[in-house]
């Protein structure tokens, strides 16, 4: 019975905080993107349990909280009763008098422990979400290193590279050039990524994708050396474009400025569409076109 009780206490005091922190962390970072080896997992569980537990002990010691529930004698009676059935039979009344006190002591430790873990995990979530801003606010290099060592080990490298975590400002978007193993080049805006249990990249989802017609470009280049590379990009219709991670040979990650006017308006235009808008605007400068004077 004592072994069972100790196992339960170990689970609630050591495993519980780690599970709670993982659950809260999964709200901002997909759980599968947590990339850690066995040693890091053990270290993480110890830190998540030991650090907050030390704070809880300090908290209850300063506030004399445990003494208000019971005493060391109550703990001895309950643990002895759980360990030895003969002690339990001889001290049944004392055991049941001490039991609620000990449960109160454990409960008062536990709610404080989980509250501290909850606050720390939410703070870590905020740090992950605001990583770029936090990093720019910290001036000393040691502070940046400290922030990275606290936040980044909990996040897969692919999540760091292919999410908005490192975007310097909100005025840029994350664009990538993807060269597949078959030699096709795509470019687009990163929308999402799926990560494996080990943090590896499973799929990359893009929007506004263009494919480079490499063969056509090389053929045209042989005929005319002045052809423009830009003319050989073709829009890929569709809402989301998914590339399997296993098909990717290389990635070029770009932070592209959003093409927005002063009012924030933006519109992605193909070459023909841009020409059409340009044609419309050119009519503004021709006096008398469509009734009115040029501006």
């Amino acid at each position: 019975m004592l072994a069972l009780s100790l196992t339960f206490l170990a689970a609630t005091f050591i495993l519980g905080p780690d599970l709670l922190s993982r659950w809260i962390l999964s709200f901002v970072v997909p759980r599968r993107s947590l990339s850690q080896n066995r040693g890091e997992e053990v270290m993480r569980a110890i830190v998540w349990a030991a650090g907050p537990l030390a704070l809880v002990i300090l908290w209850t010691w300063v506030g004399h909280t445990l003494a208000s529930w019971g005493s060391w004698g109550d703990v001895r009676v309950v643990s002895s009763g759980l360990y030895s059935s003969s002690f339990f039979d001889g001290h049944t009344d004392a055991f049941f008098r001490a039991l609620p006190r000990v449960l109160g002591m454990v409960g008062s430790l536990l709610w404080r422990l989980y509250l501290i873990v909850l606050v720390c995990a939410v703070a870590l979530d905020v740090a992950i979400l605001r990583y770029s801003r936090l990093r720019s606010m910290l001036k000393p290099q040691w502070a940046k290193s400290l922030l990275a060592s606290v936040v980044l080990p909990r996040v897969s490298e692919w999540h760091v590279l292919l999410s908005d975590m490192l975007l310097p400002t909100a005025e840029v978007y994350l664009g990538v050039d993807v060269l597949t193993k078959s030699g096709t080049l795509y470019e687009g805006e990163v929308q999402d990524r799926m990560l494996g249990a080990d943090g590896s990249l499973q799929t990359l989802t893009l929007a506004g994708v263009r494919r480079f017609s490499r063969d056509a470009f090389h053929k045209a280049l042989e005929l005319d050396g002045s052809v423009r590379r830009e003319d050989f990009w073709r829009n890929v219709p569709g809402e989301l474009f998914v590339i399997l991670g296993s098909d990717i040979a290389s990635l070029n990650v770009r932070y592209e400025p959003k093409r927005a006017g002063a009012s924030g308006f933006t519109l992605e235009l193909s070459k023909d569409e841009a020409e059409s808008v340009r044609s419309l605007l050119s009519k503004l400068s021709v006096p008398g076109t469509n009734g009115g004077e040029g501006i």
Binding site: D192, M194, E239, A260, G261, F265, E268, L269, L280, L284
Partner: protein, 68 residues
Amino acid sequence: MNGREIEHLLSLIDQNMLRNTRRAEILAYLRDNEPAVLGALRSTEKVTVPTSSGSVEINLADLQALVA
């Protein structure tokens, strides 16, 4: 994929569909209502384009920036 990941993907599809629809409607309006668009741009330097997701006000400077 768990439920939250699927929901995230669906919301991305919704966003892109909305963006593409809005984009097509704006371009169609600019093309099909050229006299009115030019008149509005000349008089107020902006044009209001009705779309299925609400009206969009486009400044002349924004249009010029798009094709710059």
